[in-house]
């Protein structure tokens, strides 16, 4: 079929696709998390086990991916639903800015936990 209709980037098609892709990534990471923590090795997860894991760079990389995907998926989801109820451009910009800032703050706090706190302890 021809591709002669307008692109989906501004219509909502691309964020819909990314929402689905991030959901699949989240599902895989969540399953990996459960298997790594609860089904392999120690049984009951202790604080020291987590700290030990956090010393490995590959583990932190996975945690970072988890954090980024979860935040993207959550904030994009709120935005997609919030868009239903906002028509004024000013309101949309305001809510979008709040969500982006919220995402940035949570990302910063999460990265501190993953990279800094884990390395010190």
């Amino acid at each position: 079929m021809d591709k002669n209709f307008k692109e989906t980037s501004r219509s909502g098609g691309i964020i819909w696709l990314f929402q689905r892709v991030s959901a699949v990534i989240l599902f895989v990471l969540l399953m990996a998390h459960y298997v790594t923590y609860h089904f392999i090795g120690h049984g009951i997860v202790k604080y020291v086990d987590v700290i030990e894991k956090m010393k490995a760079p590959w583990f932190n990389l996975v945690q970072f991916l988890f954090l980024f995907t979860a935040l993207y998926h959550g904030i994009n989801g709120i935005w997609m639903v919030a868009e239903d109820y906002m028509k004024k451009k000013g309101t949309r910009i305001f809510v979008f800015s709040i969500l982006v800032m919220l995402g940035a703050i949570l990302m910063f706090v999460g990265m501190l936990t993953i990279f800094k706190a884990g390395a010190k302890l």
């Binding site: 079929m1 591709k3 209709f5 307008k6 989906t8 501004r10 098609g13 964020i15 696709l17 239903d84």
Partner: protein
Amino acid sequence: MSKEKRIIKILRYDPANDKKPHWVDYTGEFDSDSTILDVLNDIHWKTDGSLAYRRSCRSGICGSCAMKVNGQNILACETPIHKFKGKIKIEPLPGFAIIKDLVVDMDLFFEKLKKVKPYLVVDKPLPDKEFTQSPEEFEYIRESVTCILCGACTSSCPSLWGNEDYLGPAALLKAYRFIFDTRDDGANERMDIVNDKNGIWRCHTIFNCMEACPKDIKITEYLSRLKVKIVENSI
């Protein structure tokens, strides 16, 4: 057939006399197999002739008598009263402006339907006889062609309640019905129309439309297929 006494609550609204809709109670004895439409007819013919509601075929075909009963969007003509326990609360379809009592303004609904070009668009030379289609090809649209345009799905959609510019499930299902019809040549044009902020992307797969559809059409599933097709064609 046993008769039973039922209390019927109807949300009445006459714009000439009422400031806002209000509930009116009616009591009567009805056969347990009576439909909601039978009950409304009984009230209209014997008790209160001023009650306004739409009806036509009384066979679940015309889609005129969609309304909300005990919280569900149903067709009055094919829903028996024994499906509901206790009081029966009858309201007009939500999400549409009320004209009078149970009659709602469907103009916007049909305007949106027209936007997606709800007819066969043919660019290729016409065949000598009819257009042919294999059973497999027809299977894609078999269920969607049974839509009777009653508006029960569109009226049940929370995305529409929040944004009246949203095309809504009925119009989008009609777009699906023609986009996936192998005889049609207007798919790109229709996809261009529904691929919009107020088009298919306002559907958040809430599934209310599927629950409300009196013809049991898997609307949400078909709209999801349509989303995939649009994204596939734009990548």
